[in-house]
């Protein structure tokens, strides 16, 4: 019987990661490491998502809402809402997006490196005022 880690643990770790990420972003000079900070942040979100997916019992889905976009049909929700999976799906999407973002960002950083011969974000401050 190994002890079951409760949700709080995961959340704390995630929050810690998030903080680290923000700290990195704010402190690092090198654009790439800033990007790494961003990745940290994204992954902290992922941890949350997966943890929630594991622990949280999905809300009973309900009848049509008034608002511009209510659920069309409760049944549909039950079937396609895929509550047990949605967290993981979400996480997967996030990973993909993170990758795409990183790719674009790196490309841009490369461009900067070409044109300026450096990737120090503090140097990149011609536009201001």
């Amino acid at each position: 019987m190994m002890p079951v880690a409760s949700l709080e643990w995961f959340l704390m770790i995630a929050a810690f990661l998030f903080a680290c990420g923000i700290y990195t972003i704010l402190t690092r000079k090198n654009a790439v490491s800033v990007l790494m900070g961003v990745e940290l942040v994204l992954n902290s979100a992922n941890i949350n998502l997966v943890a929630f997916a594991r622990f949280v019992k999905p809300a009973a889905s309900l009848g049509p809402q008034s608002v511009p976009i209510p659920m069309e049909s409760g049944a549909a929700a039950v079937i396609y809402g895929a509550p047990w999976a949605s967290g993981h799906v979400f996480a997967a999407f996030v990973i993909i997006l993170a990758a795409a973002e990183a790719a674009v960002a790196l490309g841009i950083i490369l461009g900067i490196y070409r044109s300026m011969g450096g990737v120090d974000v503090d140097e990149v401050s011609a536009l201001k005022g």
Partner: protein, 813 residues
């Protein structure tokens, strides 16, 4: 000279045209020069005689009530029963003025005849009217022709019935006083017109001068014809305007320009008071016509507020103080002598300045006893005050000016003392002899090119007509028996004495009055002696001197003779009777209002006046001290009251006294300036301070300049600086504030860019500057701000909104 467009007038003295003698040729006086040649004698005299004859004919026609033109005969009652006659009199000068202004220079003789004929026709009609009223011989005669001018409704609630709340009628009121004033105005005006033909002959703005004269005549006639205070005020201002224009007729002279401005402004001061008075009457009575005001005042429109009634009267009187140059607003009149002499004669001696007296006469019924005492004091003090200044004046016109002020003082004082008839009568007589004196002085100045009496002397031989006419007038003004001046002035003094019996407050005024009379006699004869007798003191000027042409002399003759004759016949006293006092009735009302006042116990005398035309008892003013003209049996002029013994005593006493002081004055000046027994210089030296005081006219002008003019100017400058610096310069103020702001924003170096339109803009600019400091261009700063903002906003906001819960949460633990 011809290129010197009358700038000559700038130099030395008023009438430069005469500066270069009377060579009949020379410069552009134009064709209207002929009558200067001795040949001018015949037409001049002819015109005069013709005029006199015509006038007499009109007058007698009026007496008879029928104007016989061959077979046809016009009933002259039409003069009054329809407004046309008065309107013709009123409008002819106006038309003339327009003709002059627009076509004057194109007309032959520059159109002087237009104005002259216009006013002459007015004179003819006025004479007819005079004749008519004498024919009718009813002291209560009166006709009113009225029309709506402005009438505004208002409503008690939206859409309700309209009620007229504000109504200004325009109308003509013709009664004896009006007609007499009409004659005064038109007569003097006509003569001055004729006189000016000669006097202004060489002036480049000849036609303009006549235009102005006509404008003045129009305004003055309107002033005397209108039937309500609003219109009165309007014409009051208009005569002010024409006086302004005429005083500054030679505006190239700075002194003239100053004088005209001064005249207008000083008058405005009085006018403000008058305006407030009118407003007060309007507020209380809701009426603007004379009759309306009198009626509702008599019916207790003022309730118990007799103080207010007095105040309103005094405010109204302020107008007279300004216009009739009473102390302390007399200062403009002497300066007004900058104007051409005919103007001084017409406006500043005979007619306009008398408007104040006319005002008091007109509004007489609304003055409460206290108001009348104030008026009397003003008048009396002015009379003596001006006379003293005149003692030391050496400018011939200044002497006359101050004597005018003093004489106006007499009239005002008389009215204030209840000498209604005689006060007004003095206006009538004074108009002629003072006009004569001014025109005479004009012709003297015309002859010897100076106004300084010390450079004259012995002119009698050179200009006899001028001398004799002026002498007659001087006798009149000095109050020598058998002259018109004597009758009127003595009348005033008598009534004053009598009034003083009843009202001790008037005793000082009595003293002023008699002393003034003596002084008048003195300085007037000083004028005569210094000018006409003795040895000429300025030879070459004397050589130059000559009698004026007939066109100028004729008016002198007429006026001079009027100075003797204008009081004869006693018709005046028969026609002008004191109206019953509305103020008395009002006071009676107030008394009745007082708690415990028995309704008919002691009602003010003349209270029955309300009960129809029967003037059983004297319509005395208030406490009835003015016994002079009390009782009116039904319809008859209340000039000869039954119980007038003490009045007669007063009059005889006054007569003796006034003859004495007059004689004294004349004698003194005779010994001083004719016989040279007394050396004025010595006296002056002996009483040096007094002399200086008088020479400097008591420093009144300086006083006003220091206390009013200067402060006003500096205040105005202060205001505009304030406007620039503070109100607008809110900019700079904010500019300072922005320094602080910038500092808070951590920007010392950010200079606030200029071009801000106002304070806000400046703040905004520097705020922008501050903000742009945040925009460092460094990504990390941005992110830092984002994070910080997030934390601060979220946390702070949570704290703010959920403070209660948090506290409660903490305390629970």
């Amino acid at each position: 000279m011809s290129e010197d467009h009358g700038h000559g007038q700038g130099h030395g003295h008023e009438a430069p045209a005469h500066g270069h003698g009377h060579d009949d040729h020379g410069h552009g006086g134009g064709e209207h020069r002929t009558h200067f040649s001795p040949a001018g004698f015949t037409p001049g005299l002819a015109v005069m005689l013709l005029g006199i004859v015509a006038g007499g004919w009109c007058f007698s026609a009026g007496r008879s009530g029928h104007l016989a033109l061959g077979p046809a005969s016009i009933d002259l009652n039409g003069l009054f029963d329809a407004p046309w006659a008065s309107l013709v009199i009123l409008c002819l000068p106006l038309v003339a003025a327009f003709v002059q202004i627009f076509f004057g220079r194109k007309l032959p003789r520059n159109g002087d005849w237009v104005s002259t004929i216009a006013v002459g026709a007015g004179l003819a009609l006025s004479l007819m009217m005079l004749g008519r009223i004498i024919g009718i011989y009813d002291w209560q005669f009166e006709r009113v022709h009225e029309m709506e001018w402005i009438s505004l409704f208002s409503r008690t609630f939206p859409g309700a019935q309209d009620v007229v709340t504000f109504r200004v009628p325009m109308g003509i009121l013709i009664d004896n006083v009006t007609v007499i004033m009409l004659v005064v105005v038109t007569l003097v005006s006509t003569l001055v017109h004729i006189y000016s033909i000669g006097y202004m002959a060489d002036d480049p703005r000849y036609s303009r001068f006549f235009a102005y004269l006509s404008i003045f005549t129009f305004s003055m006639l309107g002033l005397v014809l209108c039937n309500n205070v609003f219109a009165l005020y309007m014409f009051w201002e208009l005569v002010g305007l024409s006086s302004y224009l005429l005083i500054g007729f030679w505006f190239e002279k700075k002194s003239a320009a100053d004088a005209q401005k001064k005249a207008f402004l000083v008058n405005r001061v009085g006018d403000i008071g008058m305006f407030l008075g009118i407003l007060t009457f309007f507020l209380m009575t809701g009426e603007l016509t004379y009759k309306g005001i009198f009626g509702s005042v008599a019916n207790g429109a003022f309730g118990a507020q007799m103080g207010l009634l007095t105040a309103a009267g005094v405010l109204l009187f302020m107008g007279a103080v300004g216009k009739s140059a009473q102390f302390p607003l007399h200062i403009w009149l002497p300066d007004a002598m900058e104007g051409p002499t005919p103007v001084s004669a017409l406006i500043h001696a005979a007619t306009m300045v008398a408007a104040g007296v006319y005002l008091v006469t007109r509004m007489y019924p609304v003055f409460t006893p206290n108001a009348l005492i104030v008026i009397a004091w003003f008048g009396g003090f002015t009379a003596i005050f001006a006379a003293t200044i005149a003692l030391c004046a050496n400018d011939i016109k200044k002497v006359l000016a101050y004597s005018t002020v003093s004489q106006l003082g007499y009239m005002i004082m008389g009215l204030g003392a209840g000498a209604y008839t005689n006060g007004f009568f003095h206006l009538w007589t004074h108009a002629f002899f003072k006009a004569c004196l001014f025109l005479g002085s004009g012709s003297v100045i015309h002859a010897v090119v100076t106004q300084d009496m010390r450079e004259m002397g012995g002119l009698r031989r050179k200009m006899p007509i001028t001398f004799w006419t002026m002498l007659l007038s001087t006798l009149a003004i000095a109050g020598v028996p058998f002259t018109s001046g004597f009758t009127s002035k003595d009348g005033i003094l008598g009534d004053l004495l009598f009034a003083a019996h009843e009202h001790p407050a008037l005793w000082p005024v009595v003293i002023f009055a008699f002393a003034g009379a003596g002084l008048t006699a003195f300085y007037m004869f000083r004028l005569i002696f210094m000018t006409f007798t003795g040895e000429p003191r300025a030879k070459e000027k004397f050589e130059h001197a000559h009698e004026s042409p007939w066109v100028m002399a004729a008016p002198l003759v007429i006026l001079g003779s009027l100075a003797i004759l204008s009081d004869k016949g006693g018709w005046f006293q028969e026609l002008v009777g004191k109206p019953e006092s509305a103020a008395a009735a009002a006071i009676a009302h107030a008394e009745a209002m007082k708690p415990g006042a028995k309704p008919h116990a002691e009602k003010a005398p003349g209270h029955e006046g309300d009960a129809g035309p029967s003037h059983a008892k004297a319509p005395d003013v208030g406490s009835g001290y003015v016994g002079s003209l009390p009782v009116a049996h039904a319809g008859a002029n209340p000039y000869h009251p039954p119980h007038s013994e003490e009045l007669h005593h007063a009059h005889s006493a006054a007569m003796v006294l006034s003859i004495l002081v007059a004689g004294l004055g004349i004698g003194l000046s005779f010994f001083t300036y004719q016989k040279k027994l007394i050396d004025p210089a010595k006296i002056a030296a002996a009483a040096a301070p007094v002399h200086r005081l008088l020479l400097n006219k008591y420093w009144i002008d300086e006083f006003f300049h220091e206390t009013l003019v200067k402060p006003a100017l500096s205040i105005s400058r202060a205001c505009s600086r304030f406007d620039l610096k503070v109100v607008d310069g809110f900019v700079n103020l904010w500019g300072k504030a922005t320094e602080v702001w910038s500092w808070i924003a951590g920007t010392f170096d950010q200079k606030v860019v200029d071009g801000a339109v106002n304070g806000t803009a400046d703040v905004v600019m520097s705020a922008g500057a501050a903000l742009s400091r945040f925009q460092t261009g460094r990504l990390k700063t941005y992110l830092a701000w984002a994070v910080a903002g997030l934390v601060i906003l979220t946390g702070g906001f949570h704290l703010v909104t959920h403070w209660a819960q948090i506290v409660e949460h903490l305390t629970r633990k």
